[in-house]
């Protein structure tokens, strides 16, 4: 046990989301860790300034207003443009940043940017050798362990059927966990193909190596609906836990979910 291992938590509200960083290791409460965490937050604030659809001077808002040509946007926008195309192809159109709206289609990469930005910002924590980190951006998590003998992080999966309860616990030393659903903000997910609000599922949790893709796949699977688990089986390296609208819980065969007491679910 590493009960005495120093640990520190940091929280800031960015992009309208609570962003938490937890660090374990001898220097968790030291200046190097504090500086790395500040770089994480600065990174996310920079992304927010570029991508926010709520800020009229963001590059995304200016593209939608027609005052900025996509080709003239900065390198981070171009990176997201490329990812957006890959995401649409990879999900067969279930994930698309061009959403149907009243006056034609709107470019809204928010659904991609949160996971991508957290993944990207986590590089400052990966760089901390001999420390473990866990970054949670509004319910999407990216983890890493820089200590060879580190215990895994334990990520509780929120139960959308009953607020504040957990479905179970995932133990991981690295990688990502993303959950898409309607629990926190009402029906905010849109089927990009026709603008409807999917309702077959309550939540989809996807676990895998990259938060960018875990997040995209969770959103796409939520739009996919009833056969989300079967669809996700085709995504190599990713596992999923799905709660259906009628309360059933299904998951991909290899996903190991621990009950709260630490006993593996059957």
């Amino acid at each position: 046990m590493s009960a005495e291992l120093p640990r520190a938590g940091f929280v800031e509200q960015i992009m309208g989301l609570p962003v938490s960083v937890h660090v374990r290791g001898e220097g968790a409460r030291g200046p190097d860790v504090a500086a790395a965490v500040e770089r994480v937050f600065a990174d996310l604030r920079e992304v927010d300034a570029l991508f926010s659809t709520y800020k009229p001077d963001s590059e995304v808002s200016r593209i939608n207003a027609g005052t900025l040509a996509p080709a003239d946007a900065g390198p981070l926008l171009h990176e997201v443009f490329a990812l957006s195309v890959i995401a649409r192809e990879r999900t067969g159109g279930l994930f698309d940043v061009n959403l149907p709206g009243a006056g034609g289609r709107t470019y809204d990469p928010s659904g991609l940017v949160k996971g991508w930005a957290a993944d990207r910002a986590a590089r400052h924590l990966v760089a901390l050798s001999d420390h473990d980190f866990c970054l949670n951006a509004g319910g999407d998590v990216v983890m890493g362990c820089g200590r060879a003998d580190a215990e895994p992080w334990r990520a509780g999966i929120e139960d959308p059927r009953e607020g504040g309860t957990l479905l179970g616990v995932l133990e991981r030393r690295d990688g990502a966990v993303a959950t898409s659903g309607t629990a926190a903000r009402g029906a905010h997910l849109v089927d990009p193909r026709d603008g409807s609000h999917p309702h077959a599922l309550l939540s989809v949790t996807v676990v895998g190596p990259s938060l960018t893709w875990a997040d995209v796949l969770a959103t796409a699977a939520f739009v996919r609906g009833e056969d989300a688990v079967e669809w996700l089986r085709g995504q190599v390296g990713y596992e999923a836990l799905v709660v259906h609208a009628d309360g059933r819980v299904s998951r991909t065969p290899s996903l190991l979910v621990h009950e709260l007491a630490g006993v593996p679910a059957s």
Binding site: E12, N136, E158, G164, G181
Partner: protein, 143 residues
């Protein structure tokens, strides 16, 4: 096992009640972003035993409902107690709600710790809902 789950459900309901009760002091629809920063241990309440207990007081989070501040006691790497040291007040109705909700916040943090959860994945948690969330309790424990 089941009792832990039930405890979560009850506590979250009560905490939501606490923070969603819109008081006359609550201002209009504008949201003040809550910024919680790590602080150093305020006071070590533990005496010289094998697992020294220490009380950590988190930073004051300015919310649209008023200031919120939580203190947690950690012993042997585990949270043994949590208390809201500052909660929104403004009228007698607030005080009545707080009298019920504050001890329940305490239970929630301790229950989360007994389940040994480090973090929570869920459908997008917004800043508005954060203070009522289990993640908030986990963060407070390590600030």
């Amino acid at each position: 096992m089941r009792r832990i789950v039930t405890a979560f459900a009850t506590t979250v309901t009560a905490i939501v009640l606490l923070f969603s009760y819109h008081t006359s002091t609550g201002g209009s629809g504008t949201t003040t972003a809550a910024v919680v920063r790590p602080v150093t241990p305020a006071a070590a309440t533990g005496v010289a035993t094998t697992s020294a207990a220490a009380t950590y007081t988190g930073g004051v989070a300015q919310t649209q409902w008023g200031p919120v501040q939580v203190a947690v006691t950690v012993a042997g790497g585990r949270i043994t107690a949590a208390d809201a040291v500052q909660v929104p007040t403004g009228n007698s109705r607030d005080d009545e709600i707080n009298a019920v909700a504050v001890p329940i916040l305490n239970q929630e943090v301790v229950a989360a710790q007994s389940a040994r959860i480090d973090t929570v994945s869920g459908a997008t948690v917004t800043s508005d809902g954060y203070l009522a969330s289990l993640q908030s309790a986990l963060d407070q424990a390590h600030l």
